[in-house]
Subunit: 349 residues, 2 copies
């Protein structure tokens, strides 16, 4: 770790931009690394040297043209963004001292010029780094991924006594935390993943009671094997056919926390199969509730208290899949969409 006092401002900032809208699964040529001169700070701004940023599946949806106000689409040439942590190199903003660790939304670049604004979901914040609360954890277990898993199970999914919990994409950052939180709360937890290696990981490392590889076993057969009496809460990271299969085995009064739909992100809506068995929700009195972590922003301190304690006493593990350098970021992102990564995918600079 470099002493920030010795870091000087750069002549230029390197950043990853959208070179063209992907057609299905993104390829390396959809991205470009560009340099922009650094011209110093305006009042109320700070310059941060990024140490880590995360790549997240939902970014895929923002690479297509669209008009969602909640997941703002990128135009060609835009610098990508996302969660990052770095240290302040120069500051003209009160409360952001040189050397402080800052959590912010200007990832996908080596330095970020941030403006100190009213606190919001994506505004820069100084974070209290220590030996448990490592800087990169604020991108994951103590940050948006942690909040997604924690709020998804406890607030959205209304986790209740004796619930059998099913988590898809369970070897990913969010799914892996959801598995562990549900186990720490005393539940039977079953999981689906996309490879035998991941199935072993979620059982042996994360502690799931059972897992299956949906690519080889199939969703219907896998669920019938690991949850022969059905499930009560489905933490859905995948959408599409995964959701449809879960609807078939949810018990009366069951709940679905709709967290992500990675199975749909690379496919035009017209070409998706759609969910055809929503009548199951009527027959069984099911509740499906969608959410984004930002909707539970006010509960960040509660989540951090829980997860920090579990991390500190070793009851929760947080695997990371780290690549080195900005140039590797598109590949890490594509690998995640292909289902090749285990744990939180991070870029270290």
């Amino acid at each position: 770790m470099t002493d920030p006092a010795t870091v000087t401002a750069p002549a230029a900032i390197r950043a990853c931009t959208l070179a063209r809208h992907p057609n299905g699964l993104p390829v390396a040529g959809d991205f470009a690394i560009v340099e922009t001169p650094y011209n110093g700070l305006a009042p109320n701004q700070l310059l941060v040297k990024n140490e880590w940023f995360s790549v997240e599946a939902v970014l895929r949806r923002r690479l297509d043209p669209g008009d969602s106000p909640y997941l703002a689409p990128f135009s060609i040439g835009d610098t990508l963004d996302g969660w990052a942590v770095g240290r302040v190199v120069e500051s003209r903003a009160a409360g952001f001292d040189v050397g402080s660790y800052v959590f912010h939304y200007h990832g996908w670049r080596d330095y970020g010029v941030l403006t100190a604004v009213e606190p919001s979901w994506t505004s820069p914040r100084v974070i209290p780094v220590d030996h448990v609360q490592k800087p990169e954890y604020f991108l994951g277990a103590l940050g948006p991924s942690g909040l997604t898993s924690w709020a998804g199970l406890l607030l959205v999914g209304q986790l209740a006594e004796n619930d059998v919990v099913y988590v898809s994409a369970a070897a990913g950052a969010i799914g892996g935390l959801a598995v562990q939180i549900a186990k720490l709360k005393g539940h039977r937890v079953v999981a689906s993943v996309g490879s035998d290696e991941k199935a072993a990981f979620v059982v042996d490392v994360l502690g799931a009671d059972a897992a299956f590889n949906y690519r080889t076993e199939g969703l219907t057969a896998g669920l019938a094997r690991v949850a022969p009496d059905g499930i009560d809460l489905y933490f859905d990271n995948v959408g599409g056919e995964h959701l449809a299969a879960a609807l078939e085995v949810l018990r009366p009064g069951g709940r679905v926390a709709l967290c992500g739909a990675v199975s749909t992100y690379n496919t035009a809506e017209a070409d998706q199969p759609g969910v055809k068995n929503l009548f199951k929700a009527i027959e069984q009195g099911l509740t499906l509730r969608g959410f984004l972590a930002r909707m539970y922003h006010d509960r960040l301190p509660d989540m951090r208290a829980d997860i920090s304690a579990w991390l500190a006493d070793g009851r929760l593990v947080y695997p990371e899949n780290v690549v080195e350098g900005l140039d590797e970021a598109p590949g890490a992102f594509i690998g995640m969409l292909e289902g090749r990564n285990i744990g939180k995918t991070l870029v270290h600079l």
Copy 2:
């Protein structure tokens, strides 16, 4: 109305049975009227001469082979069933006096041989008929349709202050009640229907603020016109494309009460388009909750208190579409599935 004391037990009971599983929209030949000898009552049984029974869209799902424990499918030759009211002609069951009005589940036949069992959703019950609480209302406004609309809006949909409410199939029994209850609670209510005649009916008679004919105007255009600022609560009687269109205009935190999916009942699951935009539920933090009226059985008295009061002072109307005689029941049912009926479809015997 015949004096029950003058009614003698019949030599045979006429009933409508399933002659074959329909292929898509049912046709007359899928049904058969059969006679079965009446051989008297066993202990704890009663004989009821049916005066009214209702035909309901969800019965369509039970005409296909299947294995749902909640909507038990009929086999070839089975007598159809559903809600009915009639008067006791003979009784060997305590609490069921000759002449009493009884609400029960042995519709689709002229006489019902009922067994007095522990109270349950479909067990026979004596009902308190008067000039407001007409016998046939127990099949509708004061019965399952009333409970579906009332619980769907208030309990499932969690109707909240300032909600803009959207109701599909709004000229039907359940939709028409939902429109009126939401208006009585002070909300802006918009509606979709399948004909211009129905659109005029739901505005002029039921009091909706605006309505559109989805067949001519289209769902997207119709919703954009009647709810340009979006909706908060969708009372879904239709499913499929209606649900998908509503997901596009639900505001953050919006809710869907999944009540029925008549658009899907005549189509094999494989041939349905499916709902492809459930990601909207994630982006907007939406809640979709399915239910059947029976799940809110314990709230029947509360619903009857509300709706009886509104009926008594004329603030709620309850249109009925009545056909005469058992032989007309299949046609009335088919007409309802085709969208030809306004109000509650009833068979009078």
